[in-house]
Symmetry: C2
Amino acid sequence: MRLMGLILALKLNVWMFWEKMRELAVDDPRRIFHCFKVGLALTLVSLFYYIGPLYDGVGGTAMWGIFTVIVIFECTVGATLSKGLNRGMATLVAGAFGFVVYWLASHFGEKAEPVVLGISVFFIVSAVTFLRFIPAVKTQFDYGVLIFILTFSLVSISGYRENKLFELAHQRLSTIAIGGFMCIVISIFICPIWAGEELHQLITCNIEKLADSLDGCVFEYFNESASTADNEEPGQKSQAYTSVLINSKATEESLAKFAQWEPPHGRFWFWHPWKQYLKISAAIRCCTYRVEALNGSINSEIKAPKFMKKHISDACMKLSSQFSMVLKELATTTKSMRRSSNIEFLVSKMNCAVEDLRNALDSLPHQLPLPLPPPSIEAMKEKNPCIWTINMPLTEVMPLVVVTSLLIEIAGRIQGVVDAVNELAILANFKPAVGKSKLRDNN
Amino acid sequence: MRLMGLILALKLNVWMFWEKMRELAVDDPRRIFHCFKVGLALTLVSLFYYIGPLYDGVGGTAMWGIFTVIVIFECTVGATLSKGLNRGMATLVAGAFGFVVYWLASHFGEKAEPVVLGISVFFIVSAVTFLRFIPAVKTQFDYGVLIFILTFSLVSISGYRENKLFELAHQRLSTIAIGGFMCIVISIFICPIWAGEELHQLITCNIEKLADSLDGCVFEYFNESASTADNEEPGQKSQAYTSVLINSKATEESLAKFAQWEPPHGRFWFWHPWKQYLKISAAIRCCTYRVEALNGSINSEIKAPKFMKKHISDACMKLSSQFSMVLKELATTTKSMRRSSNIEFLVSKMNCAVEDLRNALDSLPHQLPLPLPPPSIEAMKEKNPCIWTINMPLTEVMPLVVVTSLLIEIAGRIQGVVDAVNELAILANFKPAVGKSKLRDNN
């Protein structure tokens, strides 16, 4: 019985692991291709072991090819290129540098040589290690500096033992070059995953997510609260989106970093303004913080009185649909890399909707019933209806005022996203718009 | 002249570079120690080259020691340990695994051997590469898996060429072990930088920063706007802080990850709840988003009428000072690792201040002068002063209502930070509080 239980548990675990793997693979099938590409590169490099003449040709340094493939090969072309070029350059420079230090040290006589070597390696390695603390070096060349330290130490120190240092260095360098070259060729020509393309899609997708989250959040607040029987808290889905948007910063930064190393591909030419994508994403994030705040006030304990909510509901819904339109237009602009003909029109409509919402809020007080109208007042009301205003504590109006204020603020932030996308359109020479889209005619 | 200009420009550049370096060093002098520690470890390992018997002892595989030192040595003890242990374990397992594959392949006869080897390496490497996509593996064991692939390929493939594979593997393993051991010993015993201690300090510091930013933001809004002659926008300093708080997530996560690998040190015992620090930081970040929103509404274009602002200014300032007190008490609790005797009292006072602010906001309408009192009204006002309320558009009240609402929401979020710190106090067995602090007596 126990044994059966154990076997069953094991089976379950294996099955769960398998399911997880399957999910990862289905989620992005290119992952599997990447794995096979690594396997292929490694198999090709290992031919230097299997085939006698090749092995002798590199003087038994085939190991360095394997090494290079495993360390360099990354998912995206940009990352592979960045690591490969970093490694190549660093190896060359450090090799030369190490050789010079070894040569200088060898002039001090046999006894003093290891001492001089040790001291100079100690200080040079310490100094170069310090370079890794410089933020600019850290982001773009960290791997190169690491390889520099490695190669420099290996060349200068092992020069003390190796007789044919120059030949050895030459052979190692050629295997490293072969390994690196193979990685780069395979990653570019077999199902390439371009960091630039990924970044482009991610940003487009994020603009759409922002639109959806904003839309969902406002819609749920003004519609579902009527039928609160629903189990789900309003804005739960929207909350999930905002957390994704807030947390995608690191991914975007690394993609932009690697995209700069990539050659022209697809629709992206040399010097494509990858950094502008980061500006767009910063504008999106800036907007997302407000959506997050909106979620917070929608889920707050103080609920706005229903009749008030109803009063501004239309204006809010209209504004939110304008947000959606603007954002979706931006997403289309980015996706198609073609200037939009009606973004300005949409933005001006959005600004009108903001004004409408302001007016709706301002007209709110006049419509409120007085909670406890004193008897003498009814008469006056007829004379001068305009001054009969709320006697309602401001705390009760608060949730609604906050939601309105946040929506108005979000309009400003969306303007920021529009500006960033427009700047991208200029920097990246987006194609001019074709004809006027249907939207304008409809309105 | 041109030459002089060139030399001057060069001089300036070198000087600027030097200044930057000096800044980095002064900012955190431990960076220099770290560099010298790396130099020391490398020099010690390179003794295996300089001293004959040692060199022969490891059969010329001293290179692997240098390699290990350079790749493993990180700033914090935890990172070094994590990389070292990952490397050690992965090398052992992969070595054994590679040996088995090589041994199996060698049974297929001389012709078939490279084919069998190639195919099995291709599939095993592809499969293991896929493991790196699993998030849990990626965060904690990515380096280990990389080393596994590396060692496995080297052992199984080079087995085809090397005659004394076993001896070679043994020698390499021992140099790797020596290099790793040296790194670990040096990083633990010479000016150690513990990831755990860093995380602890970072969180304490972040709580203080939150307090300062909140304090500064509210103070500047209610005080400085009277003297708007000042060039600086209100909340600029506070904004700088909030961006630091929002962006410190990645650092905290990596510190927490590495802290788990560290042995007990200082005040931190085994199984110190490092993950709880991440919960505290999440609560802080949650609060920071609201402070960011507060900054936004403080800098918004619509300014609240001064007389209204003045009315709730006291309540807001009081609440903000309560925030400060609670947060500073939390910082002290975390820093001293000693439970606080009056945090509950401070929290209840904070909640009272929230109520006061609510009341102040509610009493606001009654105090407002009617903008255009109709002539007939003056008489009625004396009879029934209570119903004379604002006829002011809600949009004008908006900024103030939003600020109030955000402050009230922040109170809720600070409660979240308090809960997270209390949980840490329980999980980490903080010492009991000593006596009642002065604060209570003062109140």
